[in-house]
């Protein structure tokens, strides 16, 4: 904290007005699983700083490669030189000011700070062995152990610090010509049961009793938590004020009904149970649970201090160092059913989608998008799973594409399961708290 205080004082002495200084020390292990064995280990340990400085609405931000007073002062001096070249950002309104009370410091399993490679390998081996108890030909995945210490201070007298740690396990199983993938994550080693998770992941392939083809057309789609997370994160991304100003599909819809009236979507940075939570955002404003959509109505855009002032609202605790960023997405729905099987029974003609990727917008302004099921997808008829979809003669292929519109999708949510889980996917790695989500009338094309 001394380096942070000294850096702020030094920056003020050079005439900067708003100053944010942060220091991050991180240690991350990535243990790769491939071909049903521990494949390799990547470890990275870094310590670095960041400074954010303004003068007369001119903004300069810089990474600082070393955490020492000399490096911080050099970065601040360099910023002073650079500042002359910067044009003012007319709609800039300062950084968070006030006396804030933060929630309690994040709690986590201290054992995660001292795990050895062999401990991490044990987690991986247990997951692999669990998965191999089923009819699985190949197991792949990743175990990530992340430790971080974060400290920050601002010229408005805010000082904050927190430590955090988590362990994340992703597992893909291939067998019977199909694949299934899921994630488990916790801040506590004891809450991650890799053997059980491996067995449960592997058991999903048992649903693939035979395979078949479907025709292009309209289907009800039941998204498992992972693909639902992949898709729904676009809703909170588009609620960021930076996306709204770009003309994204939520622009101009504040206060209007955008989803079915049972739907609520929250951006929650404050719940300590979620691995992405922190007591404050990058300018020291307390994080909170913000209703983005409540009972179908678009309630809030996501702001930092400056953008909130611009629009005459309060910050939602979404400050990144430059632009606002999202926290953990939580989806809630009034009409819940017991479990996935109950949802399947509601489907007359539909598809269970367990994994998607490459979600791409055709048009961000109206929300048209397409996405590709990458893992097991099961055709459902009259409430019964019929067969796993396989449109081409290629191992582990599904071969269908979903074409929908984000606003239409959230209006057409029919029901969700009663339980939610922390969900994520490789190309949308932020975690969401997500149930299974049933969407009616979705256009599907096939190979």
């Amino acid at each position: 904290m001394d380096i942070i205080r000294d850096s702020i004082k030094y920056a003020k002495s050079l005439g900067f007005e708003d100053v944010i200084v942060s220091i991050e020390q991180s240690s991350v292990h990535y243990l790769k699983i491939a071909n049903s064995e521990v494949n390799s280990m990547v470890e990275d340990r870094d310590a670095s700083g960041q400074v954010y400085l303004t003068h007369d609405k001119r903004i300069v931000a810089s990474d600082v490669p070393k955490v020492d007073m000399q490096s911080m002062r050099t970065a601040i001096r360099n910023a002073k030189t650079t500042l002359k070249l910067v044009k003012p950002k007319d709609d800039y309104n300062g950084i968070a000011a006030g006396k804030f009370k933060y929630g309690k410091a994040p709690e986590y399993d201290k054992r995660l700070e001292s795990l050895e490679n062999s401990d991490i390998a044990d987690v991986a081996s247990a997951a692999i062995n669990g998965a191999l108890t089923g009819k699985v030909e190949n197991v792949s995945g990743m175990v990530i152990v992340e430790n971080m210490r974060f400290s920050m201070g601002t010229s408005n007298g805010i000082m904050g610090h927190y430590d955090s740690a988590n362990i994340r396990l992703s597992l893909r199983v291939d067998g019977k010509g199909f694949s299934y993938q899921d994630v488990a994550a916790s801040k506590y080693l004891s809450k991650l049961n890799p053997g059980k998770f491996g067995r449960e992941t592997s058991a999903m392939l048992d649903r693939a009793s035979g395979f078949g083809k479907i025709k292009s057309g309209t289907y009800d789609v039941l998204y498992s938590p992972s693909p639902a997370s992949n898709l729904m994160q676009n809703i909170t991304d588009m609620a960021l004020i930076s996306s709204v100003e770009t003309g994204g599909f939520l622009s101009g819809k504040l206060g209007k009904e955008v989803g079915g009236n049972g739907l609520s979507i929250y951006d929650d940075g404050a719940n300590d149970a979620y691995i992405g939570s922190s007591p404050f955002d990058d300018e020291g404003y307390p994080t909170q649970k913000t209703p983005v959509i409540e009972n179908g109505v678009l309630k809030n855009y996501l702001h930092n201090w400056s953008t909130a002032k611009k629009y005459g609202v309060k910050s939602t605790g979404n400050a990144g160092l430059i632009d606002p960023r999202t926290n953990t997405l939580v989806l809630d729905y009034k009409s819940k059913v017991r479990d996935e099987d109950s949802l399947i029974r509601e489907i007359k003609r539909g598809i269970l989608v367990t994994g998607t990727w490459y979600t791409r917008f055709d048009n961000e302004e109206n929300g048209d998008f397409s996405t590709v099921p990458r893992n097991l997808a099961i055709y459902i008829e009259n409430g019964e799973p019929k067969f796993a979809i396989k449109q081409l003669d290629v191992r582990s292929i599904v071969g269908i594409r979903i074409h929908d519109n984000m606003l239409r999708m959230i209006r057409n949510i029919e029901a969700v399961s009663s339980s939610s889980k922390q969900a994520s996917s490789w190309d949308a790695p932020d975690y969401s708290i997500m149930p299974d989500v049933l969407v009616k009338g979705v256009k599907v094309t096939t190979a």
């Binding site: 064995e37 280990m41 990547v42 490679n117």
Partner: protein, 461 residues
């Protein structure tokens, strides 16, 4: 400095390894600026250094990195490379390379130059037809040192400039969004500013025409289109997604299954007929000034030109030392990492459809009736790289052998094998388009280009 202790890092790794060891040190500096709707968002800079060692210990592979540059930290880092269960990883033997790849841009900008460039590009986009525009520019240069167990010792310096431009055109029939990435290895000269104004004006005019007068095809009309002329931009995205990625050896042999996915190519079908005889697809790192340029890969192997598809037949996988050893061959130099803190993995560089002999007019004339797709916005592909879709952004009907009215909603959606078997004629034009390709976990983006020639696809041959 990181490069000062590379000998020490390599020596420590070598002492504790089972044969394979390498060390890589990097010092970098970067600066960027952003403008949105003509408003200057700010200037951002970063600099730093770091060191990475990769080594085998008791038959397993470790990649260890830190930005704590002192002997004690490096020694401690190497000592932690242990504890995994045994697995024998082989590495191909490669010739010792003692070389330098020192690139100096003709016009490497200072922060003043960066500011001037972004203002100039923003100025080109100030057009009443453009309803939204943003520009981000970034210039970085990295100096690196490398040494490995083959006796290689390489120094490199790589400046790279990239501009990311996003704009939206509004017309009577709808909007068109366009993302463009410009630049390459070098300084400001890589932005080709002398031709940029005209290129952006062409883009704006074409997209405005689509937004103003573009026709929406019915599903039946869409299905009726059998002849498609694709521009080098469309060739490029298809080459990248459906040929380059599935020919990455780590993906073919399952190492990326839970991350960037698998491949329709596997150990049992190498040599598969992927397309027509007209299709030859290359990956070529050593194109000076290109975004995917490198002379030596991040395992110290010369990045040579690869013929991935030769006359329609799968010919060569992209390899690193690990998968070259598995295949009993030498690496073709395709291992890349985006920074010291990431492990090198198998990547593309500049990947393209080799040009043929047809003029653009001949492609259109031969198509007779069909569609010309000039640029794309949305696109995606499945896990095995077998089923792709490219959404036309600027596209025109072809009627009686001539370019006709613009089309708004065309999607080229088909299987990989049908796509490449449909190639009837390849153009003699050639262009490369910049991209940043993501892969691995943690995901790392490396600069690449995709492109090549235009082509005529006939789907009912």
């Amino acid at each position: 400095m990181a490069t000062d202790i590379i000998d020490y890092a390599y020596s420590e790794a070598s002492k504790r390894s089972d044969g394979f060891a390498e060390a890589y040190a990097e010092e970098y500096a970067a600066m960027g600026a952003a403008i949105e709707q003509g408003k200057f968002n700010g200037i951002f800079s970063s600099s730093g250094s770091g060191i990475r060692v990769r080594m085998m210990s008791k038959g397993n592979l470790y990649s260890m990195s830190t930005n704590l540059i002192d002997k004690q930290s490096v020694k401690s880092m190497v000592s932690r490379a242990r504890g995994l269960p045994g697995r024998k990883v082989g590495m191909s033997d490669e010739p010792a390379v003692k070389g330098k790849d020192i690139v100096k841009g003709k016009k490497e900008p200072d922060i003043d130059g960066i500011k001037d460039a972004i203002l100039e590009i923003d100025n080109y986009l100030q057009d009443k037809r453009v309803k939204y525009r943003s520009v981000y520019i970034n210039f970085s240069h990295a100096k690196s040192a490398f040494m490995n167990d083959c006796g290689s010792r390489i120094e490199a310096r790589m400046p790279i400039i990239n501009v990311y431009s996003n704009f939206i055109i509004a017309g009577k029939k709808g909007t068109r969004s366009r993302f463009m990435q410009l630049g390459g290895v070098g300084g400001l000269e890589a932005l080709s500013m002398n031709t940029l104004e005209r290129r952006l004006d062409d883009e704006i005019s074409g997209l405005y025409e689509a937004a103003q007068n573009g026709k929406n095809l019915s599903a039946q009309e869409m299905r009726g289109i059998k002849n498609v002329v694709i521009s080098p931009e469309i060739s490029g995205i298809a080459v990248h997604e459906s040929i380059g990625h599935p020919n990455e050896s780590d993906r073919v042999f399952g190492r990326e299954a839970a991350q960037a996915g698998t491949s329709y190519i596997n150990g049992g079908n190498l040599g598969l007929e992927v397309g027509s005889e007209a299709v030859t697809i290359m990956d070529e790192p050593q194109i000076s000034g290109s975004n995917g340029y490198y002379k030596y890969d991040d395992e110290g192997v010369i990045g040579r030109k690869k013929t991935i598809i030769k006359g329609g037949i799968q010919n060569e996988l992209l390899t690193n030392r690990e998968y070259a050893a598995m295949l009993g061959i030498r690496s073709n130099g395709s291992a890349r990492s985006s920074a010291y803190s990431f492990e090198p993995i198998v990547r593309m560089s500049n990947t393209y459809l080799q040009k043929g002999s047809a003029t653009f007019d001949e492609l259109v004339s031969e198509a007779r009736n069909g569609i010309y797709v000039k640029s794309f916005n949305g696109w995606n592909i499945d896990d095995t790289r077998s089923f792709s879709m490219y959404q036309g952004n600027e596209a025109y009907m072809i009627r009686n052998g001539r370019i006709a009215e613009p089309v708004m909603n065309y999607k080229l959606e088909t299987s990989t094998l049908k796509f490449w078997h449909a190639v009837a004629l390849v153009g003699k034009d050639f262009n490369l388009y910049l991209a940043t390709c993501g892969k691995g976990e943690p995901e790392q983006g490396v600069p690449v280009t995709n492109g090549g020639a235009s082509a005529l696809l006939k789907f009912n041959r």
